[in-house]
């Protein structure tokens, strides 16, 4: 077909073969040095915590009553507590619980927030008003007080901590997603999808959410960090993970009394 435009085959990248060789995801990712560094640190952290059974220098909860509390040494890198348990091993095992809680909270709260924000932004009108006023309501409630109350009621098990933190943490991403969806909704490719016969649900799943993947991924990452802090805060205050289970928060709370005490 004769046309005055340059034909697509004249592009150098596609001149050789029938299909264009595209650099894969990993090839493109590996070119970004900081991203690789971050991924390596995360991987090491995950391996150290979840592989604690192999990585940790001492088994979980192994006591050495004769040793008692000692400062950091070559054998116990971070010292031991009063029962002679190795702090480094304890931190790694506690990380399993803290990280699991945080990741679960991040995923669940992001899922709730994305759902609420996407529906509110896409439907608009009274649905938008109702959903966003509910979001505002959750935002003005003092989170820590509500958390403490809720955990008293439900009992401070890891599952109830995840549920309560997720139900409180979805508001931020809901507002961000709503704003993005409101602007995406007006884009022409959404109309185009409607014309070829996509239902609203299909438009949301295939065209709106994929265009928000960056925002959603960033939010999950930030929410993990946020959840670790909140869980630690709760455990420090005594409402979170209870001994003998240990998390980063209740380890801090147990150790807080030792700050400023002289070495034995």
């Amino acid at each position: 077909m004769a046309s005055p435009e340059p034909s697509p085959t004249s592009a150098p990248a596609s001149a050789s073969g029938a299909t264009v060789k595209r650099p894969g995801f990993w090839r493109r990712f590996s070119r970004h040095r900081l991203a690789v560094l971050g991924a390596v640190i995360l991987a090491l952290l995950a391996i150290a915590c979840y592989g604690a059974a192999f990585v940790a220098p001492f088994p979980q909860d192994q006591q050495d009553l004769l040793l008692g509390p000692v400062p950091p040494s070559a054998e116990h890198w971070l010292g031991t507590d009063e029962l002679g348990r190795d702090y480094l091993s304890e931190i790694l095992y506690a990380g399993q619980l803290s990280l699991s809680l945080a990741i679960a909270v991040a995923l669940i709260s992001t899922a709730i927030g994305v759902f609420v924000g996407a529906v509110a932004g896409y439907r608009g009108g009274w649905v938008d008003d109702v959903f966003m006023r509910i979001t505002d309501l959750f935002l003005v409630v003092p989170a820590i007080a509500l958390l403490a109350l809720a955990l008293q009621g439900l009992g401070p098990s890891p599952v109830s901590i995840v549920i309560v933190l997720s139900l409180l943490g979805w508001t931020y991403i809901a507002r961000v997603v709503r704003g993005q969806v409101v602007s995406l909704r007006e884009r022409e490719f959404i109309d185009a999808a409607r014309v070829i016969g996509a239902t609203h649900q299909q438009v949301l799943m295939r065209h709106v959410l994929p265009n928000l993947s960056g925002v959603i991924a960033v939010n999950v990452a930030l929410a993990v960090a946020g959840a670790i802090i909140v869980e630690s805060t709760l455990s420090f205050l005594g409402f979170g993970v209870q001994p003998p289970q240990s998390s980063w928060g209740n380890m801090l709370s147990q150790a807080s009394g030792l700050i400023g005490t002289p070495k034995v």
């Binding site: 077909m1 004769a2 046309s3 005055p4 435009e5 340059p6 034909s7 697509p8 085959t9 592009a11 596609s14 073969g17 029938a18 299909t19 264009v20 595209r22 884009r187 022409e188 490719f189 109309d191 185009a192 999808a193 409607r194 014309v195 070829i196 016969g197 996509a198 239902t199 299909q202 295939r206 065209h207 994929p210 265009n211 993947s213």
Partner: protein, 322 residues
């Protein structure tokens, strides 16, 4: 008559709300009672200035906007009354090509995903979607090497070809072309227009060609409808419109088209319209054009109907005698 598309008294009003209580205090009549017919293999040009409602007509036809009243008949079947699954099946037969090929393709989807999406949605070509997508791209003059590329890697003309391939995927009978070349470079426009003509011949497609560029419309259209503020003011075959326009608005529009011959360009009289386009919320009583018309007389205070004489329809009391 075997008209594939029949539009009857299409009206689209938008409510105007004001005050704290958001009460409806008026309405914008974007489309004000439009009737069109289109036969297989023919092109109807729809022209008018910005804001005259021509894009609204196009969007009503493909179901993006629900008309306030009036009906859209595809092959004699009224689709404006349908909803849900039934409507989506019927709408397969009328597809839209968008003005801006930069905005109408999802930046997150590859060309293959874009072109095969309509097939998947309607369960067509099951199992051989990519082969069909490649065939569609071939039809619009793109090689299958673009299948794995993303819209941002393509030129404007290539993108518009992808948009056309997507519309063709559902084997429509009518295509609404909403200013399909006005966002493209002039050098690329000709290629797209030729492609559209070729496709029309091969697939016996009917086109509704929406544009504000009169010279492009003349090139592609068999019939032309001129719109002014939501109404059709003149509706006639393309040759007659350009050789003997009857409505003063059409005459003014045509006098603004530059002529390639400088001598002819110098000697002809330009008709300059005075004033601005009236607000569609507050239309002039009677003929909507009379606030800017140099032929306006007292009879113009009543709304002129579209009068048909020898296939030439004009909505003007003072139109030149045929």
């Amino acid at each position: 008559m075997t008209s594939v598309l029949d539009v009857r008294h299409l009206v689209k009003e938008y409510p105007v709300r004001s005050g704290v209580l958001r009460r409806v205090t008026g309405s914008v009549k974007a489309v004000n009672g439009i009737s069109l017919t289109l036969e297989r293999g023919r092109t109807l040009g729809l022209v008018g200035e910005t804001g005259c409602g021509k894009s609204t007509v196009g969007r009503c036809l493909v179901g993006l906007i629900e008309p306030t009243s009036g009906s859209v008949l595809l092959d004699g079947v009224d689709v404006s009354a349908m909803s849900g699954r039934e409507l989506r099946a019927a709408r397969r037969r009328i597809q839209l090509v968008f003005q801006d090929p930069y905005a109408s393709l999802d930046p997150r989807q590859s060309v293959e995903a874009i072109v095969s999406e309509p097939l998947r949605l309607h369960g067509l070509a099951r199992g051989s979607e990519s082969a069909r997508a490649a065939a569609l791209l071939d039809l619009v003059g793109l090689s299958s090497s673009v299948l794995q590329q993303y819209p941002h890697e393509l030129s404007g003309g290539q993108r518009q070809r992808v948009g056309i391939a997507r519309a063709l995927a559902l084997e429509p009978e009518v295509m609404v072309l909403d200013e399909p070349v006005s966002a493209l470079d002039v050098s690329v426009q000709a290629g797209i227009l030729n492609l559209l003509e070729e496709l029309q011949r091969e697939l016996n497609l009917a086109y509704v060609f929406i544009a504000h560029d009169l010279s492009v419309v003349r090139h592609v259209s068999h019939e032309v409808a001129v719109m002014y503020l939501g109404r059709i003011v003149e509706y006639v075959d393309a040759d007659t419109l350009y050789s003997a326009p009857q409505h003063p608005y059409t005459q003014a529009l045509l006098s603004a088209v530059p002529l390639p011959d400088p001598r002819a360009e110098r000697s002809r009289k330009r008709i300059l319209l005075e004033g601005d386009l009236p607000s569609p919320i507050d239309l002039p009583t009677g003929c909507a054009f009379r606030s800017r018309c140099w032929k306006a007389t007292d009879v113009c205070s009543s709304i002129p109907e579209l009068r048909t004489t020898d296939y030439h329809a004009v909505a003007c009391h003072n139109a030149d005698q045929v």
